[in-house]
């Protein structure tokens, strides 16, 4: 990482100074600075990951949001627009409506959250009476975009159906169409498995075998755990019919990370380990991504993770709406974000836009192989009359969402 570190001095402060300079330079009647406050109701729960490299940072998501605010302010300074993030870290069982009320009291009308689906719904319901909009950064549940969709709930996080379709398209493109599906024992794992079953059907793959991997408790890596893992994984994956690729549905990081190189048959792993569908990877450098990566490392001394990208994107959507509409009125910002010609550039090679039927952000999905980005879905050859981005996830004709 030699290069980024060299410029550590170029932190927020310098950009702040420049932002002021830009404001002065372009001071064409922007005497008043109007501030847009964005709330972030943020989970402080941190679950251990199998790989030490993937342990979530204390500021996971928050760092991305801060960078987004910084970027918003650079542009906003020339329009007399300033952006502020109000960080609301919450523990499990926190009183979310009360937290929202406090944010409302601070003039916040747009609130991002990385909480789980049930909490997102709680927030969305509470937000409705206060005329606030919630941006879902992390919950992948399709139900939030389908039967539980809300007119004041925007999804930056890709749905499980999008993640599964992204993997499926690549595997089908590779002609690896015989899948061995290993599913964790949590409800969310079952939902993810549903998404893979749907993808298989949609793109012509066949799940030749399914197996459940029970979570029997226990810790992550332990000193002699690796010896046991080497015995257990082959047994778990033994006896499958001929298959091309093993797909792991393990959202809770219980077993998937142990699969690569340990399966009974020598087969690649995809899904929750191996080839993983993500919104961002710290190795992504296409489409100007290098600059974003460097900017992030310079400010936070760590690599940018998917949740950081999701939070950055959420903040940038608000900033972009402010720049395009020339307004800081929250109603105007939200209606701009929802308007058909709104889009956001997020280092993915094409514009990310909002699906008007369920308020899901359309986006390419990166397929990360651990060290590099292996591919990006949608894959070539999967066609769509509107945008190929709608070949992943729930499309307009299939939606059950009735926004209200």
């Amino acid at each position: 990482m030699g290069r980024p570190n060299r410029s550590m001095r170029n932190g927020i402060s310098r950009r702040g100074v420049i932002a002021v300079l830009l404001t002065l330079a372009a001071s064409r009647g922007h005497a008043d600075v109007s501030t847009i406050r964005i709330g972030y109701v943020r989970s402080t729960a941190r679950r251990p990951m199998i790989s030490l490299l993937e342990q979530p940072a204390p500021d996971a998501g928050l760092a991305g949001a801060k960078l987004g605010i910084d970027d918003n302010n650079t542009t906003g300074s020339t329009f007399g627009q300033a952006f502020e993030l109000i960080d609301v870290p919450v523990r499990k069982g926190a009183d979310l409506p009360a937290a929202l009320e406090r944010l409302a009291g601070q003039g916040v009308r747009v609130v991002m959250t990385d909480l789980a689906a049930n909490s997102v719904l709680t927030l969305a319901s509470a937000a409705r009476t206060r005329d606030m909009t919630i941006i879902n950064l992390a919950a992948p549940d399709d139900s939030l975009r389908e039967q539980d969709c809300r007119a004041n709930l925007i999804h930056v996080a890709p749905a499980r159906s999008m993640l599964a379709d992204a993997v499926a398209q690549y595997l089908v493109w590779k002609k690896w169409t015989r899948w061995f599906l290993v599913v964790g024992s949590y409800p969310s794992d079952k939902l993810l498995a549903d998404a893979y079953r749907r993808s298989a059907k949609r793109f012509g793959a066949k799940i030749v075998q399914e197996k459940v991997s029970e979570d029997t408790g226990g810790s992550r890596q332990s000193d002699s755990g690796v010896v046991q893992t080497q015995q257990q994984i082959p047994v778990l994956t033994q006896g499958a019919p001929e298959y091309d690729v093993l797909i792991a549905a393990d959202e809770n990081e219980v077993f998937a990370g142990y699969l690569p190189y340990r399966t009974w048959d020598p087969r690649p792993v995809a899904g929750s380990a191996g080839l993983e569908p993500v919104t961002w990877d710290s190795s992504s450098e296409s489409w100007g991504g290098t600059q974003l990566q460097n900017r992030f490392v310079r400010l936070f001394n760590r690599r940018m993770m998917p949740l950081d990208m999701q939070a950055w994107t959420g903040v940038r959507m608000v900033g972009e709406a402010a720049a395009r509409s020339g307004s800081t009125d929250p109603d105007k910002l939200v209606s701009t974000i929802k308007s058909p010609d709104f889009g956001i550039a997020a280092y993915k090679g094409q514009l990310l836009t909002l699906r008007d039927w369920d308020l899901q952000l359309r986006q390419p999905i990166l397929l990360a192989g651990g060290r590099t980005v292996v591919s990006i879905s949608p894959q070539p050859g999967f066609l769509h009359q509107t945008t190929t981005l709608d070949t992943i996830g729930i499309d307009r004709p299939e939606t059950k969402c009735k926004l209200q």
């Binding site: 290069r3 980024p4 410029s7 170029n10 310098r14 950009r15 420049i18 932002a19 300079l21 830009l22 330079a25 372009a26 970027d71 650079t74 542009t75 020339t78 329009f79 489409w287 100007g288 290098t290 600059q291 460097n294 900017r295 972009e320 720049a323 889009g343 956001i344 550039a345 094409q350 514009l351 509107t386 945008t387 190929t388 981005l389």
Partner: protein, 329 residues
């Protein structure tokens, strides 16, 4: 150039030959194409319409130009943090310019003697006096500069930035940002008309070209593109070139694999010319006879006959061709 000296040069330079060394006549119309993936420059004889030689340069060559005196080629070797100087006669690397880190592209100003380079990571524009090979200015931009251009009178430097989606106007005398103009998403290339009356900025993801009044600093027109049978998201404008009389503009549309021909008076697209895949940069040959386009994914250069408005040839070059520069001498 004599045949013998040409061969000797090849050996000394350790150049990779794309084909048996064919002497390039001294008067040949020649194009130089930087191949980002191969770390090479393809030398294209435009009379023979083929690549006659390939030379090794630094890592990740991108922005490329021929100097005002026609003696040298300048190329950004981005991953080597330098701009290399290549002697046109011997095709050997004869020196470097202190470009600052990760130079992607540059603009030539002041009769071709000043080089304006964007250093994205350091949020700087580095200005180099080419004859003395020295840095004469480092201008902080406050944002990561990407596209780079200089007004014909040399007084205004413009950089575009993906972070802000703006064109930033810098007064060269005072080194200060004097104006910023919001354009559509992911601005890439900024280009002044030869008469300086308009600045055009392409927005790769916005899919538009903004026509900016450089005095009032406002977008006075926005050019949209529509190609039958193509989804709008693959129309990604990048390179912009004006004919000498400024009457027509050519805009490279990236993965749409087309170059749009625009009447600059009305701002209407007159024609779409089908070229190679992922077309980015372009260069005219003298008298605007041909327009060359670099096509990154098909590893070739398309040759457009400007009078006929037809693509007449595609010429194989190296992998991921990025930039192109032309010399007639």
């Amino acid at each position: 150039m004599k045949k013998s000296s040409f061969r000797a040069a090849s050996i000394v330079a350790g150049a990779v030959l794309a084909m048996p060394a064919v002497p390039v006549p001294a008067h040949a119309l020649t194009a130089y194409v930087s191949n980002e993936r191969d770390n090479t420059i393809s030398i294209v004889d435009l009379d023979a319409m083929k690549t006659v030689k390939t030379i090794d340069v630094g890592q990740r060559p991108r922005g490329i130009a021929v100097t005002a005196d026609n003696k040298s080629i300048l190329v950004c070797a981005s991953d080597d943090d330098t701009v290399q100087i290549i002697d046109r006669a011997t095709l050997q690397i004869t020196g470097e310019l202190p470009s600052g880190p990760d130079p992607e592209t540059f603009a030539l100003g002041e009769g071709g003697n000043r080089l304006f380079i964007s250093n994205e990571n350091d949020q700087l524009v580095t200005v180099i006096d080419i004859p003395s090979r020295t840095v004469v200015a480092k201008i902080p931009t406050g944002v990561e500069p990407e596209g780079m251009t200089v007004s014909p009178d040399g007084k205004t430097v413009v950089n575009t930035s993906e972070t802000t989606n703006m064109a930033h106007f810098i007064d060269y005398a005072t080194r200060k940002v004097v104006a910023t103009v919001l354009v559509d998403l992911r601005p890439r290339i900024a280009q002044f008309k030869h008469d300086g009356s308009e600045l055009w900025v392409s927005s790769e993801l916005g899919g538009t070209v903004s026509v900016i009044d450089p005095v009032k600093h406002v977008v006075k027109n926005k050019i949209h593109f529509e190609i039958q049978g193509l989804r709008s998201d693959v129309i990604q404008p990048v390179g912009i070139r004006f004919t000498r009389d400024d009457s027509k503009a050519f805009v490279a549309l990236g993965p749409a694999n087309r170059v749009a021909v625009i009447d600059t008076e009305t701002g209407t697209v007159e024609k779409y010319l089908l070229v190679g895949q992922r077309v980015w940069q372009m260069a005219f040959t003298p008298e605007d006879k041909y327009l060359l386009t670099t096509n990154g994914l098909s590893n070739d250069v398309s040759v457009i006959d400007v009078a006929a408005m037809k693509v007449i040839r595609s010429i194989q070059v190296g992998r991921l061709p990025w930039g192109v520069a032309v010399s007639a001498q």
